[in-house]
Amino acid sequence: MNHRERVLAAVEHEEPDRVPVDLGGTVAGIHKGAYEGLKRHLGFKSETVLYDMMQQIALVDESVLKRLDVDTRHVSSSPLAKAPKKMLPDGSYIDSWGVKRVKAGYYYDMPSDGHPLRDASVDEVDDYPWPGPHEDAQKVIEYMGKRVKYLHEKTDYAVVYSSSGSFFEKSWYLMGFQRFFTDLIRDPTFVCRVMDKVVDCGLKFESEVLPEIGDYIDVVRFSDDLAMQSGPLLSLEMYRKYIKPRQRRVFQFVRSKTDAKIFYHCCGSASYFFDDLAEIGVDIVNPVQVSAENMDTKMLKEKFGDELCFWGAIDTQRVLPHGSTKDVEEEVKRRIRDLAPNGGYVLCAVHNIQPDVPPENIVAMYDAAKKWGIYPIT
């Protein structure tokens, strides 16, 4: 079985020869600090290229992907489109949506004055300088088209495309968390207007990109965190009223342009939304944050395993940074045992690998996946 067949079998809920593994992109990727340590550990020398500015994610070199026997290759409009729109003299920057990002520790985050629509009225939403296709959009689209065609025709990797269709987080980035969440009660019209604008921007971009790449991608990724460690951010009722209809619109649009499987990334205690997500066409859920509430992998497989493929699940909060290589191996065995029977599991870390994860543990994770992921799972 080749790499792509392995991933596709898993996603189709069939048992491949072994559990496929992922590394790359911006939700299953690796922080440049961890990546540099990994390269040193593996004896590879190359200059680290940044794939995502905000999260400081590295572009993973082919040599590393081959060594870890990764079954996927990632494509997005990054790094071009994700480059800062405007660098500020103090080292912070304004992103393409107009949101300010300040470096703190390992990443760039939003300061409390970074939300441009914080005090806006509903009438001002339309006048906001919404990001259109940037100057290099055509070049980016051409590049992506060539890249995915190459990956599809000349390699046998599963191609994962990070789309621009996510809107929930971008919307609260624009107005701030406090306003977004209280306005869902006090002024939902404002929140809805902003979300619709963000959806429109994303779909406009996708309407140009997907016709070029739709036939060559296997998985299309969306990412919007609806939950936190201890539970969902909002009630199902509110989710169904304000978020789900817009997700449905996005997924339907994407579905009309490509047969790629729909991958949805939601951190935290996400299982609360799984039935609804499956209903509107989500095929794959990520990152399966096992340290959050109601994310026990055995329960998840039993309850949602027929409908959803799980992608992730190796604990990044405790085991990967603080465990031994033996602990990592045990973690891998446990998640494979829980999630892999009958297919439906692609293994990687819960979210990006952080700089506090020792390289030995990264290698241990991929090696263990290869050793213990062979079907039939016992």
Partner: protein
Amino acid sequence: MDERICGLRDSLVDLDSERVKEKVNSALRKGIEPLEIVNSLADGMRRVGERYEAGDLFLPELMMAGEIMKEAMAIISPYLKGSERVQRMGKVVLGTVEGDLHDIGKNIVKTMLTSAGFEVVDLGADVSVKKFVESVRKEEPKIVGMSALLTSTMDGMKEVADELEKEGLRKGLKILIGGAPIDEGFAERIGADAYGKDAMDAVRKAKILVGAES
């Protein structure tokens, strides 16, 4: 409770900000003790907190209740006597640790602590060890509260705890910590006095730490 403010608590629980303001204003006009109005609102916040913990309410409702409480307090404050303005539960110095800009959780904890009668000195996010220590020296709080979202910044809490010890400021001071990657074990390891699983738990622990609840 004065029966003339009955319904105020429930208006807060119902997140009806206009009605809360109306009722507060009318209670003040009727000459009801301002402190009694505050207590009624605090009771409402407690109920909202309980319903959040029970999974009936979520962040939007919790944050909205906090905003309504804040608006109501702005109306009542001028009527409170000097001694009543001093929050009765004591002072808390609160911040997100160095290298971590995530302050959403910390801000909710602040709202809930304030509603429960604590005076909160908010140091914001990305707070250095030095700033925590200086603020503890200056403010002399009963509790220092620290928050972290990142596994890579949580060790900053230990540095603050160690530094407070070294500077001789630890006596009588309680350390309360929280944030996604934190658990009881971590709190114990770094010598913190308590860990708050969420904002409600943080308030409960804070009350225990100051001896207001057991």
